[in-house]
């Protein structure tokens, strides 16, 4: 084969239909998912001004031939100078960690019980878990306001039975936020756990029992380690989005509930400080990039 022929093949390989097909979704995601992060990074390096858009341009052409780069770390320095932001990051991670653990405990119990249910029931039970997930997130959070508020249904019920005589203050506290998160993210935990537990070979548990392992010990030394992939997937699916959660802390949490998603929202919509909002987003992304990559790897492995 001569070189001309090879070159022709090479060009054909680049401009073939296969690449055209790949390029359609690829370009879309590049333009509307990846490129936006470059923009956020750019704006986080600018200064806020009162104008539209309310930030300074990154490049300006003065008299010189080269554009003057007006990049500054002012927004980032501001984030670290005001303890509010650091507290919000830490508090978000704390709330995300605690609620991920709570969701894992509740989710594991449900997923385990479904996986051990008679086969003909499993499909229906799983369907019942997924069903609420299809209804609006906002509506599900809203439903809890009526239950948790001081003159709400929970206090009404408890006082009617006579368990308490003074209403519990749950609404506008971190507790309400935990309840809301566990409730809203439960299906994300149950689905990967169930997928894993359902595939688990029951004969392994029987083998352990046969070898004289007590049920509780079997659970800790066989079931839990074997379901680790499901646990990891579920925890990523809950932890990562909860760190940036806005609706739940906004509607159920109080003024003292600090979460970074709420801070970002406030910086953008109320303070109109876009560079700081962008810097908040960039730092949040840096915190989440490792868990996101781990999650992507585990998903790709699961698809094979």
């Amino acid at each position: 084969m001569d070189t001309k022929d090879k070159k022709h093949n090479f060009l054909k390989r680049i401009f073939n239909g296969r690449n055209a097909v790949i390029s359609i979704p690829y370009l879309w995601l590049l333009l509307l998912f990846l490129f936006p992060f470059v923009i956020v990074l750019k704006i986080s390096l600018a200064q806020p001004i009162i104008a539209m858009p309310p930030y300074t341009p990154l490049f300006s052409w003065g008299d010189s031939l080269w554009p003057k780069i007006q990049a500054g770390l002012d927004s980032y320095l501001f984030l670290f100078s005001d303890s509010l932001y650091i507290k919000a990051y830490l508090s978000s991670i704390k709330i995300a960690t605690i609620s991920t653990i709570l969701t894992l405990i509740v989710g594991y119990a449900i997923a385990y019980s479904i996986a051990r249910a008679p086969k003909r029931w499993r499909g229906i039970l799983l369907m019942l878990v997924i069903l609420p997930f299809w209804t609006s997130f906002l509506i599900r959070v809203y439903a809890w306001i009526g239950i948790l508020k001081t003159e709400g249904l929970l206090n009404l019920a408890l006082m009617t039975i006579g368990i308490i005589d003074k209403p519990l203050i749950i609404m506008n506290t971190d507790l309400a936020v935990y309840i809301g998160i566990v409730y809203s993210y439960l299906p994300f935990m149950i689905l990967p756990l169930y997928a894993n537990l359902e595939k688990m070979d029951m004969s392994l548990l029987e083998a352990a029992a046969d070898l004289g392992c007590r049920p509780i010990k079997t659970f800790w030394s066989v079931t839990i380690p074997l379901s680790m992939p499901g646990i990891m997937a579920g925890c990523f699916l809950v932890f990562i989005p909860v760190v940036g959660e806005f609706v739940i802390p906004d509607l159920l949490g109080g003024t003292k509930t600090l979460m970074i998603g709420k801070v970002l929202w406030g910086e953008f919509f109320y303070n109109r400080d876009w560079p700081v909002a962008s810097a908040v987003a960039i730092i949040m992304l840096l915190l989440l990039v490792v868990p996101i990559i781990l999650y992507q790897k585990s998903q790709e492995k699961a698809m094979k």
């Binding site: 296969r18 690449n19 097909v21 790949i22 359609i24 979704p25 690829y26 879309w28 509307l32 998912f33 490129f35 992060f37 923009i39 858009p53 119990a109 449900i110 019980s113 051990r116 249910a117 008679p118 039970l125 369907m127 019942l128 878990v129 997924i130 069903l131 299809w134 209804t135 609006s136 906002l138 509506i139 599900r140 809203y142 439903a143 809890w144 306001i145 009526g146 239950i147 249904l153 409730y183 990523f236 699916l237 990562i240 989005p241 940036g244 609706v247 998603g261 970002l264 953008f268 876009w274 909002a277 987003a281 949040m284 996101i292 999650y295 992507q296 998903q299 790709e300 698809m303 094979k304």
Partner: protein, 262 residues
């Protein structure tokens, strides 16, 4: 069969009560005569009537429906291609980046997605409105569609396509006559998922919408911030009903798909 323990039954009863009681109460109190959401004042549908007179909610519902319909359709198209590319195209330059861009939006906090895509629209001088909300919704929905298609394709017997090629069918016709009809149920579930996600979205819509493109969740959100009212319960009940209808349809389609593949 192994005996089904008391613990398991208890876990399921408590778990499902936790999942369903809030929604049931929400629906119940939408039929409450009293304005107070916690006190039962008798059965009434008057809040649904008031809803019908609320032009703001009706406008928002129309905008939401338009956005959901267009965005889910485009997202299904793009997501199906992306799913096929991921599952059938083997190695290609930039595959890791592509897979990252598909999985990341599904876990990425919505505030980040909303902010970044909005700043892009502003940089590109695209006016905020129905179009920008739609574009943003397409972007995250297509990732979910792609994952649904990928998981369908993982149980797809490639020799079915080879058989079609072998019998003289061109690659393009093989896709249209064989692959497409076989994965159609998965494509439809992808569309339904995109549609409901677009219908539900508050955060990304808040960032990317402009004047005149207030969506229903945005409208509900602003009402919720003013307090709990039976009207919100009523509009929520309608949405829950619509979604339930969609899910039932999707599960029937899913059942048919299962029958076909076995």
């Amino acid at each position: 069969m192994k005996k089904y323990g008391n613990f398991n039954i208890f876990a399921l009863i408590v778990g499902f009560s936790f999942l369903y009681i809030p929604i049931i109460l929400l629906i119940l109190f939408s039929f409450n005569e009293s304005r107070l959401v916690t006190v039962w004042g008798g059965f009434s549908t008057k809040w649904y009537g008031e809803l019908m007179n609320n032009q703001g909610i009706k406008d928002a519902a129309w905008v939401t429906f338009k956005v959901a319909f267009v965005s889910s359709t485009v997202a299904t198209f793009l997501g199906t291609i992306a799913g096929l590319v991921m599952s059938r195209f083997g190695k290609f330059g930039g595959r890791t980046l592509f897979s990252g861009m598909i999985y990341a939006p599904m876990v990425m906090p919505e505030v980040i997605l909303g902010l970044s895509i909005l700043l892009t629209f502003i940089t590109l001088s695209i006016d905020r409105g129905v179009l920008t909300v739609t574009l943003a919704h397409i972007t995250f929905s297509m990732c979910y569609v792609s994952v649904i298609i990928q998981s369908r394709m993982s149980s797809y017997d490639e020799s079915i396509n080879e058989a079609a090629l072998d019998l003289g069918c061109t690659p393009l016709r093989t896709f249209l006559l064989i692959t497409f009809p076989i994965i159609l149920p998965a494509i439809i579930s992808g569309w339904l998922l995109s549609f409901t996600m677009s219908l539900d979205d508050l955060v990304i819509a808040s960032f990317t919408s402009g004047p005149g493109s207030t969506t229903l969740p945005m409208k509900i959100y602003s009402m919720v911030r003013l307090g709990v009212t039976p009207e919100i319960n009523a509009v929520s009940t309608i949405l829950v009903g619509l979604v339930a209808l969609g899910v039932v349809t999707a599960s029937i389609i899913g059942k048919r798909q299962k029958q076909q593949t076995i």
